[in-house]
C-alpha cells in the first residue's frame, strides 16, 4: 500500500467472463510489475475498485492467493460504479485499492470439516476460500458446498460448479428458487434445502454468504441443527467508502466492517449492538 492510503494502483482487465445476465467476473493484473509480484492478500479480503470520474466500490477478491499474479472480482451491475465496471473491456484499465479488511480464518479451520452455504452473489466471497482450501487440500477435512440462486440463469460460476460436482473430494448441492425447462436438479430456497441435507455439526465450521434474509434463515437452521455461533462464519455487506476505518460509513457499534470485518463469526456479531439488524 502506498503512503496515500486513498491512492489506488492501476490495473488492466485481462479477461471478462459473464456469469449471469447481471454478474460478470473480471480478471485483472497490476500494471506495475513489481506490484504484480509483491501483492499479497488472504482469502476473504476485498478491494476498492475505481472507475475514475465515477467512483469506487468495494468488491470481495474472488480469486485465491494461491493463483499468482492476478486478481478476480465478481461484480453485479447494480449501482453507478458497478455498472461502469461492466462497461470495461479487455485492455481497459481501472484502479484497485487493497487488500482491505480481515480474512477467513484459514489457520484456525485446519483439520476441520468445512460447510459452505451460499446464495446468489454470495458465492464469490466464499469461492476465494473454497479455491484456497482445494489448493491446499490435505490441510482440511471434508468439503461440503450448498448453493442456491433465484434461477438456473442466476447461478454464478457455472463452470466451477460443474468442476466441483465432478470432484470426488467435494460434496456439492445446488438448488434454484424457480427452475426452468433445462433444470433437472432440486428446486427450493437455500434454508429449507439445507435442513433437508442436514449436515452434522461435529468438527465442522460453516461459512455462509448471501442476501441478508437468507443468512438469517440459514443461521437459524444451523442453530437448530446444533452448530455453535462461534462455528458459523459470515462476511458482512455494508456501505463502505474509505475502506481503512476512518470515514465512519461502515461503522457498527465499535467496529469498522472494513477493518474488523467483513468476516465475522456469529458469536462476535451477537455482541455488537445493531450488527444483526442489518
Amino acid at each position: 500500500m502506498k503512503d496515500n492510503i486513498y491512492l489506488p494502483s492501476i490495473a488492466t482487465v485481462k479477461e471478462v467472463r459473464p456469469e449471469t445476465p447481471d454478474i460478470s467476473t473480471f480478471v485483472v493484473t497490476f500494471d506495475e510489475s513489481e506490484l504484480r509480484e509483491s501483492f499479497t492478500y488472504r482469502p476473504g479480503q476485498f478491494a476498492e475498485l475505481s472507475i475514475f470520474g465515477v467512483g469506487e466500490c468495494p468488491i470481495g477478491i474472488a480469486s485465491s492467493p494461491t493463483a499468482e499474479g492476478l486478481l478476480e472480482f465478481c461484480v453485479r451491475a447494480v449501482g453507478t460504479v458497478s455498472n461502469a465496471i461492466h462497461d470495461l473491456e479487455v485492455g481497459d484499465k481501472l484502479g484497485v485499492r487493497g487488500p482491505l479488511g480481515n480474512s477467513w480464518p484459514t489457520k484456525e479451520i485446519e483439520g476441520k470439516d468445512l460447510l459452505f452455504i451460499g446464495g446468489g452473489i454470495g458465492l464469490p466471497p466464499l469461492r476465494s476460500l473454497i479455491r484456497y482450501v482445494l489448493d491446499k487440500r490435505d490441510r482440511y477435512g471434508a468439503v461440503q458446498i450448498v448453493y442456491g440462486a433465484r434461477s438456473p440463469q442466476d447461478l454464478v460460476y457455472k463452470e466451477e460448479l460443474r468442476e466441483w460436482d465432478e470432484c470426488p473430494d467435494v460434496d456439492l448441492h445446488v438448488t434454484v428458487d424457480v427452475g426452468d425447462e433445462t433444470w433437472e436438479g432440486p428446486v427450493g430456497f437455500v434454508p429449507p434445502f439445507l435442513k433437508e441435507i442436514n449436515p452434522a455439526p461435529e468438527n465442522k465450521v460453516a461459512f455462509t454468504c448471501g442476501p441478508p434474509i437468507m443468512i438469517k434463515l440459514v443461521v437459524d437452521a444451523l442453530g437448530e441443527m446444533g452448530y455453535a455461533d462461534a462455528n458459523i462464519i459470515t462476511t458482512l455487506e455494508m456501505k463502505m467508502k474509505c475502506g481503512v476505518g476512518k470515514c465512519g460509513r461502515c461503522n457498527i457499534g465499535d467496529k469498522y466492517i472494513c477493518r474488523d470485518g467483513p468476516v465475522f463469526s456469529f458469536e462476535q456479531l451477537r455482541k455488537i449492538p445493531g450488527a444483526l439488524e442489518v
Binding site: 470520474g53 484502479g95 467508502k241 470515514c247 461503522n251 457499534g253 465499535d254 477493518r259 449492538p273 445493531g274
Partner: protein, 343 residues
C-alpha cells in the same frame, strides 16, 4: 515550562512577525460569526470571543480535500497527488476543548493505517492556545470530561489573558521557536508573579460521567431513542459543528478523462449515509441514527480507541440544534435511567 508575559499591543506585533514566516490562522469575525481563517496580520484577529462556529478540526481535516487528480489519455490512466503544504502553519486562539478534540481525532487518523494528509497538517502546525475566560460560556461543560480550560497540555504555547498582559506558557520546542521570532517583545515572569497573575480555575456546572458508558450500554433497546428522535430534524448541523466528528464521503468530480477524487464531510444523521445500493439501510429511521450518534460518542469510540468519551463539552451542537436536542439533557436523562423502559 517557563513562563513569560507579553502586552496586548505586543501580541499583535508578534503575530504580525509570525505571519511573515508562517501561514497564520486564527479566529476572525464576519457578520457576528467567528470562524478560523488565514490572516496576514494580527490585527485581523478577534481574540475576544467565545468559540468559533466551525471547530478548528477543519484546519486538519478540511471540509473539502482533494485526494488526487486523475487523467485518462486513451487507455492510460495517470494519478497525481497534491503537493505538500506551502508553508508551516500557526493556529492562534484555539481553545482547550478544541485542542483536546485533536488528540481524539489523532486516534482515528493516525492509527495503524496513517492518513498522510491529516498527518502532514498536524505535524506542520503549531498551536497557540488561548485560555478560556471566567466565567465561561454558560453552555460549556468541558470540565465534566476532565478537561481543564486553563491547561497548556496539548498546545505549543498557551496564552492566558490576565488584563493588561497575556501570561505565556511555552510548552514545546515549536513554541520556543515561535517566541524566538520576536523574542524582545516578551518579558520574564517570576514564579511568584506568575502565581499572582494566574486566574483561578474555571468553574462550570459539572456532570458526573463516571457511570455514563455503563448506563448507556444497557439502553440499546430503550424507548428513549424514539422519543428523542421526535424533535430531531436530521439536518446534520450537530455533526458539522462537532470537534470530534470525523465522518466523510469520498467522491469523484469532473469527467472520466480529467477530474479529482476528493473527500468531504458527511453526516451519520442523514438517511442515505449507510444506505446500501441494494436498498438495505442499517439505520433506516431517525431513531436508529440518533441512538447511533450517542452510542458512538459515549460507548463505541472509547471502546475502540481506549480513550475518554469522544466529546469535549464545547456545546456547539446544543447551541445550534434547530430542534432543541441538548446533549447535556440527554446525558442527564441517560444517567437518571433505572433500567430499560418503553420510553
Amino acid at each position: 515550562m517557563e513562563k513569560k508575559k507579553i502586552t496586548k499591543a505586543d501580541v499583535t506585533r508578534w503575530l504580525d512577525q509570525i505571519a511573515e514566516k508562517y501561514e497564520l490562522i486564527g479566529p476572525t469575525e464576519d457578520e457576528d460569526v467567528v470562524q478560523f481563517r488565514p490572516v496576514n496580520s494580527g490585527a485581523e484577529l478577534t481574540l475576544d470571543y467565545a468559540n468559533s462556529l466551525i471547530p478548528p478540526k477543519s484546519l486538519f481535516f478540511p471540509q473539502v480535500e482533494g485526494l488526487f487528480s486523475f487523467q485518462k489519455r486513451g487507455k492510460e490512466i495517470e494519478l497525481e497527488e497534491a503537493g505538500p503544504l506551502e508553508r508551516d502553519r500557526v493556529v492562534v486562539g484555539i481553545r482547550k476543548c478544541d485542542v483536546e478534540s485533536l488528540s481524539l481525532l489523532d486516534r482515528v487518523f493516525l492509527d495503524d493505517v496513517e492518513d498522510a494528509l491529516y498527518k502532514e497538517r498536524r505535524e506542520r502546525t503549531a498551536l497557540i492556545a488561548l485560555a478560556c475566560p471566567t466565567p465561561p460560556r454558560a453552555s460549556c461543560f468541558c470540565t465534566s470530561f476532565g478537561i481543564d480550560p486553563l491547561s497548556p497540555k496539548g498546545s505549543d504555547i498557551l496564552l492566558t489573558d490576565v488584563g493588561e498582559v497575556y501570561l505565556v506558557d511555552v510548552v514545546t520546542e515549536k513554541g520556543e521557536q515561535l517566541v524566538a521570532v520576536a523574542e524582545s517583545l516578551f518579558s520574564k515572569v517570576t514564579e511568584k508573579e506568575a502565581q499572582d497573575l494566574q486566574p483561578p480555575p474555571v468553574e462550570m456546572p459539572e456532570l458526573d460521567l463516571s457511570e455514563l458508558r455503563e448506563k448507556l450500554e444497557t439502553l440499546w433497546e430503550d424507548g428513549y431513542w424514539e422519543k428523542l428522535s421526535l424533535p430531531c430534524l436530521g439536518c446534520g448541523i450537530c455533526t458539522y459543528v462537532c470537534p470530534t466528528c470525523h465522518c466523510f464521503d469520498i467522491s469523484d468530480v469532473g469527467s472520466e478523462t480529467d477530474g479529482v477524487r476528493y473527500r468531504c464531510w458527511d453526516s451519520c444523521m442523514y438517511n442515505d449515509f449507510a444506505l446500501m445500493t441494494s436498498g438495505v439501510n442499517p439505520r433506516p429511521t431517525k431513531r436508529e441514527r440518533i441512538r447511533n450518534r450517542y452510542f458512538h460518542k459515549f460507548s463505541a469510540f472509547p471502546s475502540r480507541y481506549g480513550t475518554n468519551y469522544a466529546c469535549v463539552g464545547c456545546a456547539r451542537c446544543l447551541v445550534h440544534c434547530p430542534g432543541g436536542v441538548e446533549i447535556t439533557e440527554v446525558i442527564k436523562d441517560i444517567l437518571a435511567k433505572e433500567g430499560v423502559s418503553e420510553g
